[in-house]
Symmetry: C2
Subunit: 216 residues, 2 copies
Amino acid sequence: MKIGIVGGTGDIGEGIAMRLSPNHDVVIGSREEDKAESSCNACIGVMSGLGIRCRLSGHSNQEAIDRSDIVILAIPFRHLAPTMSSLSGFEGKIVVSPINPMEKKEFFIYTPPAEGSAALLVKKMLPEGTRVCSAFNTVAANKWKAFSEALDLAVPVCGDDATAKSAVMQLVGSIPGVKPYDAGPLAVSSMVECLTPLMLNIARYNKMKDVGIQFR
Amino acid sequence: MKIGIVGGTGDIGEGIAMRLSPNHDVVIGSREEDKAESSCNACIGVMSGLGIRCRLSGHSNQEAIDRSDIVILAIPFRHLAPTMSSLSGFEGKIVVSPINPMEKKEFFIYTPPAEGSAALLVKKMLPEGTRVCSAFNTVAANKWKAFSEALDLAVPVCGDDATAKSAVMQLVGSIPGVKPYDAGPLAVSSMVECLTPLMLNIARYNKMKDVGIQFR
């Protein structure tokens, strides 16, 4: 599977790119191609320093879409509408939303759009029939990037198309120590997206770092 | 601490009562005092069969409130309004909501009331100044009742009053294998209540049983 990461130069994007790159062709996308290339080189530097072979390249966000089968939207919720309006070519792709709409007041609180969740909004923005899943929502950027630490984390995956969901779960499961769980249709993706503000509050109020989740 | 469990004869109520009873005076409450007494005797039977000493009694829901410092509302969401309208004497107590409003369609979905969460609705129903926490939301009845299995579960606790929250966290933490986490104010209790429909979906779609949650 070829994986394109829109907004791949952010912390979450780079983290996911590095974790996937030993087993998949991964395109780090950015609004600025230069930035994608230097992010890509930085990731390759980290990986080869650890003796891990990887398959990474850096391109524009549009090329990240065009060159891939699965597109991961690693962008903050506030950038979703402007980013999506500048991009095209999603037809036939599987689009993955790891986006968690939230606000930080004294605490973090989930602030879904009128559609019910970021993933449902993404689906609405795309051509009819584009297969959308939510996944990768629950992992902190620092955990993705901490290669020295073994992961032991759950990633719930939502989606309405069984084949697409199965492909995304396989992608998630290709990362050592990360276990994908089928969390149901996109209609319940809000219950996954709100895990992140919950975990940020748990981290804050219990003096923990980079809290992840496990089901047992 | 004396603990009263309104609706204590249900599966969740009995499970919580048994887990708390070795270390606390626990009153199992019911609309029908007879039912509370037989539930209490059944619990005592189970516990003494396991060689565990416990402090349990069975009374009316109203007496469960009157005799206790912390009142746990172990009732389904649909019974909340009628039950609360028939009870009084909550002043000065700590009231704990383990209630998760949800619907079962093809899947489980969180259906909070207009107030934002069951816990926020409970607060609105009580005399001003009554201290409300949400807790015990995330543990399946079967896990509470399976004494032969060691627990290893997280219980997030929300609340606005620091002293009350600390007392409830201590109560939660008095159950071996259950770890309380401060999940923030009552304003974010919806993010905890929706964990249960999420976990029920995870159980269903991944062929698991009595799914619990852990933070790490």
